[in-house]
Each structure stands twice: as structure tokens, then as C-alpha cells.
């Protein structure tokens, strides 16, 4: 699903984002990306989304080489990747339903599909009764659920989460993790960057540990340590 082949990313002038990282994640896998702030987790994810180019190496996502991808096709690439962020990134001027619908609209789905799918997915994340609330009327946990719903409504083959529980209290975090777990069980590859030790230890999934931009550990059913 994801292959990083000797990837380095140096930010101008000489700050190391990633250094010689080679990682392969299979389709359907659930993997944690752990490490301190500045260890390269976000760089890893932003490279996946092709927000910028690696300084060296090649990245392949779902069989497509990102270096050979034209700028104009980046949006189509991103539609295959659901994204969940620490700060939710909801459109502030749209209500819950419209936020989820936007991800469908960009793919050109007709209105009748949107009217069917949006309530369905919001039901799934437990927000069936908050469809017409604005983001700022929701709790942090609820906002993150909306964000997960938006990421998953297109049924992408890959779901990427950058510190999705970073702004949430432990109980709410568990709820979000359960959602991601269910999404993974349904066949979607999930990659989650986090420094939530408890969560990683509880899940016993693959752990890829980064330090100063290098992979220092990569083990199945691993612990945070």
C-alpha cells in the first residue's frame, strides 16, 4: 500500500525532516508511527499526501509513484486517502453534514448519493442527531468524529491520521480509536502518527518508531516503549 524507498527530506536550509527512511506497509495493515515531536512523523504524512516533494528517494502509494504524478492529478490522489488531523480541519462555515458532504462533492457525486451517504456515515460515528450543528457547537471529540466521517465517507483504501487523539481526553480518545479500528477491520489500511503511549500499548499493532528523522524500530504487535 505504502512504500518509502530510501526517502530523505531536508527542509531549507538544512533541517532534517526524514533521513534515509525505507518502510513498507501492506494493504489492510494497521500501523502506528511513533516518536517525539520533531521526529519526522508529520513529514512522513505530508509526503504521503504530496504536500511537498522528498529531497531524495521514491514514495509509492497504492501502486503509484508520487514523483511521477503530475500536479493536476494530486487532488485525485488525495481522494484515495482519508485524512484525520489533530486540529480536525473542519470547514468552519459549514455544518456537520455539509462538511462530510464536501468530500463527496469534490468527487462529483450526485446529490441523491450525498443525501443517502452522509446520514449513514454520521450514524456510524454516532453523530446522527448532530447533522445540522456547526463545528464550533460541538465538543472536541465530536469534531474529531466528524473529521473521521469525512475521511471515510469516500471509502478510501488508505486512512492517515496525524495525532488524531492529541487534543482529546483519554475517554474520548478511546472512542476515536475504536472508530479507526473498525475502519481497519473493514479492509482499509490505517496509518496513525501518535505519541499516545497508552493507546499504542493497548492496541498491540505494528509500531514504526522515528527518531531525528530515522526509523529506529519497526516491529509487529509492538509497544510504544
Amino acid at each position: 500500500m505504502i512504500t518509502f524507498d530510501h526517502v530523505s527530506k531536508i527542509y531549507e536550509p538544512d533541517i532534517v525532516g526524514l533521513e534515509d527512511v525505507s518502510v513498507h506497509i501492506e494493504r489492510g495493515e494497521f500501523a502506528f508511527l511513533v516518536g517525539h515531536s520533531g521526529s519526522g512523523k508529520s513529514t512522513f504524512i505530508r509526503l504521503l499526501l504530496k504536500e511537498f516533494e522528498p529531497t531524495e528517494g521514491t514514495i509509492t502509494v497504492a501502486g503509484r509513484n508520487l514523483q511521477r504524478m503530475r500536479r493536476s492529478t494530486i487532488p485525485y490522489h488525495r481522494r484515495n486517502i482519508g485524512c484525520v488531523f489533530q486540529d480536525f480541519k473542519l470547514l468552519p462555515n459549514k455544518n456537520v453534514a455539509e462538511n462530510v458532504a464536501y468530500a463527496l462533492r469534490v468527487t462529483g457525486q450526485p446529490g441523491r448519493v450525498i443525501r443517502r451517504k452522509v446520514p449513514e456515515i454520521l450514524q456510524l460515528v454516532g453523530l446522527g442527531d448532530k447533522m445540522y450543528k456547526m463545528p464550533d457547537e460541538l465538543s472536541a471529540g465530536e469534531q474529531q468524529r466528524v473529521s473521521v466521517a469525512r475521511a471515510f465517507v469516500n471509502h478510501p483504501s488508505l486512512l492517515v491520521a496525524d495525532e488524531p487523539t492529541g487534543n482529546l481526553d483519554p475517554d474520548t480518545s478511546v472512542g476515536i480509536m475504536q472508530l479507526l479500528y473498525r475502519i481497519n477491520r473493514a479492509g482499509t489500511t490505517v496509518l496513525m502518527a501518535t505519541h499516545d503511549r497508552e493507546m499504542v500499548d493497548k492496541m498491540r499493532k505494528r509500531v514504526i518508531a522515528l527518531k531525528d528523522g530515522r526509523v529506529v524500530r519497526d516491529e509487529d504487535k509492538g509497544l510504544y516503549r
Binding site: 504536500e51 487532488p75 488525495r78 481522494r79 480541519k89 464536501y102 462533492r105 469534490v106
Partner: protein, 299 residues
């Protein structure tokens, strides 16, 4: 289908960001208003100038010895020149009549004359007054022209000479200056409007970033902004046009009435002006939005 979505997106954000929408609208209104006033002034001056220029004409005086056939032949020759706009024949009698009128009150001076000493003449107006000297010179050596022997330039042809050159020079400077002024106004409004729109889009750059991350294509993001710009532009320009036309009606018309010797009513092509202001307002809004968005679409 898609257009309806874009339209409703545009309308929603116009309403939700109404402070910014109003700011952009007022900016377009003000700059279109100033531009419109500039154009009114320009049109009026252009009118005065073209009036002045049209007053430049060539007078060709004809020898009293010339026969009617010769006079008619000269008239046909003049009419055949491509530069000529209008030719008017002034007979001896009409010349005397004009003189009598201009002497008003002192007509008895004419009684001292025996007969009519005034020569007949042709009055020639040109399509382009700038060619006046060149055309006038064609008559210098014509044997029918009533030249005083040895006069240089020949006094049988009158075309203002130095004066006409000066009028042409001064009016040309005025026209170029006026056009330059209008161009400056256009530039100023483009800068002002694009700056305002950039501010309003800058306030929404996070929104644009999120749209990109969800997989929206650039045009999917751009269309609502462009429609928003068009709506803002039309609204602002319409307001400005109304103000400009009212100003033209009440203020300028009053000035014109008191200075009919200089200005003529109807110098401003109202329909064209309206069309121009509305179109440029719309274009300004649409382009302003599209261009201001550019740097936020690079993620």
C-alpha cells in the same frame, strides 16, 4: 447541477463573510465611481477639443475674373479629395451679407463702397484637422485663387497657419494627458480592488487549505470564489454607475447650462459608460478573486 452548488457556495460565503463582502463591494464602488467621474471629465474635454478642432477650416478665395464653370470645376475637385469632410461655397452676395451682419449698427460703412468688392470663396472642413496645412498648400499655386501678387505664403488661402498648429498641439497634449489620467485611474482601481479581495481571501486561507487536502481540484475551489467576485463586482459597479449618472445629470448638466459656449450637453455616451463601468467592475471582481486565490492553491 455543479453550477448550482458553486452558486450556493458563493452566496453562502457572501452572507457568512458579509463584512468582507461589503468591504470589497464598497471598494469596487468607490474606485468605479472615481473612474466614472474621470471618464465624464475626459469625455467633456474631448468634446470641447473636437469642437475646437472642427472650427479649423480652410478658406479658398477665388478671383473675381473666374467664370462660373471654373468655380464649379474647382468645387468638384475639392469634393473629390479624400481628406475633405465638407465643402461650402460662399458667393459674393453671401460674403457681403455676412460682413453686413458682423458690422451690425455700422452698416452705413458699406454704403461708401461702390458695388461688391468681396471675392467668392470655398470653406473646407477636413476629416482630420491635422492635415490642414498639407491640404491648404495644394491651392497655393492654383491660378483661380485670389492671391495678392508676391505674397508668401499666398494670402488667397487662409487656414490659420501658426494658430491652427498651436491649437492642434495643445489639444493633442490635452487628449494624451486625459487618456493617461484615465489609465492611471484604472490602474489604481485594479490595485485597490485586488488588495481588498486578497485580504478577504487571506482570512479564509485555512478553508482553502482544507479543501485541497480533501481532494478538491483547483477549479472546484476557484469557481465559488470567482462567482463571489462577479456578484460583488456587479453590485459595486451598479452602485457606482448610478452615482456617476446622477452626478452627470445634476452637477455637470448645471455647469454645461452655464457654459454653453464651452461645453455641449450629451458629450457623455451614457450607454457606453454604463456598459464599461459594469463590465470592468465584474471583470475586476472575478479576476481579483482568481488571482488572489492563486498563491493559496499551491499546497
Amino acid at each position: 447541477m455543479k453550477f448550482r452548488f458553486f452558486l450556493s457556495e458563493a452566496m453562502n460565503s457572501l452572507v457568512r463573510n458579509w463584512v468582507m463582502s461589503v468591504a470589497a463591494m464598497v471598494t469596487i464602488l468607490v474606485s468605479m465611481f472615481v473612474l466614472g467621474l474621470g471618464l465624464i471629465i475626459f469625455f467633456n474635454f474631448q468634446d470641447v477639443i473636437s469642437d475646437l478642432r472642427n472650427k479649423l477650416e480652410i478658406e479658398v478665395y477665388i478671383k473675381s475674373t473666374a467664370s462660373q464653370e471654373e468655380i464649379d470645376a474647382l468645387g468638384d475637385e475639392i469634393r473629390a479629395m479624400p481628406e475633405v469632410k465638407r465643402v461650402y461655397f460662399v458667393s459674393k452676395e453671401e460674403a457681403l451679407e455676412r460682413l453686413r451682419k458682423s458690422l451690425k449698427g455700422n452698416e452705413d460703412v458699406l454704403d461708401a463702397l461702390s458695388g461688391n468688392p468681396l471675392p467668392p470663396s470655398y470653406e473646407i472642413t477636413l476629416k482630420d484637422p491635422a492635415q490642414i496645412e498639407e491640404v491648404a498648400s495644394r491651392f497655393f499655386d492654383n491660378p483661380l485663387v485670389d492671391n495678392t501678387p508676391g505674397s508668401d505664403p499666398p494670402d488667397g488661402v487662409k487656414y490659420g497657419g501658426e494658430t491652427s498648429k498651436r491649437v492642434l498641439r495643445v489639444t493633442t497634449i490635452f487628449l494624451i494627458g486625459g487618456a493617461g489620467f484615465v489609465v492611471l485611474l484604472v490602474l489604481a482601481s485594479v490595485l485597490l480592488v485586488s488588495n481588498t479581495i486578497r485580504l478577504s481571501i487571506f482570512a479564509r486561507r485555512r478553508e482553502v487549505e482544507i479543501m485541497r487536502l480533501v481532494g478538491a481540484t483547483n477549479w472546484f475551489i476557484r469557481w465559488p470564489f470567482v462567482i463571489e467576485g462577479v456578484v460583488t463586482g456587479i453590485a459595486g459597479a451598479a452602485g457606482a454607475t448610478i452615482l456617476v449618472l446622477l452626478t452627470n445629470k445634476f452637477l455637470v448638466d448645471k455647469v454645461i447650462k452655464n457654459m454653453t459656449f464651452l461645453f455641449s450637453a450629451g458629450a457623455v455616451p451614457v450607454f457606453k459608460l454604463t456598459l464599461f463601468l459594469i463590465l470592468s467592475g465584474t471583470l475586476l471582481g472575478a479576476l481579483g478573486s482568481a488571482l488572489a486565490l492563486r498563491r493559496f492553491l499551491k499546497i
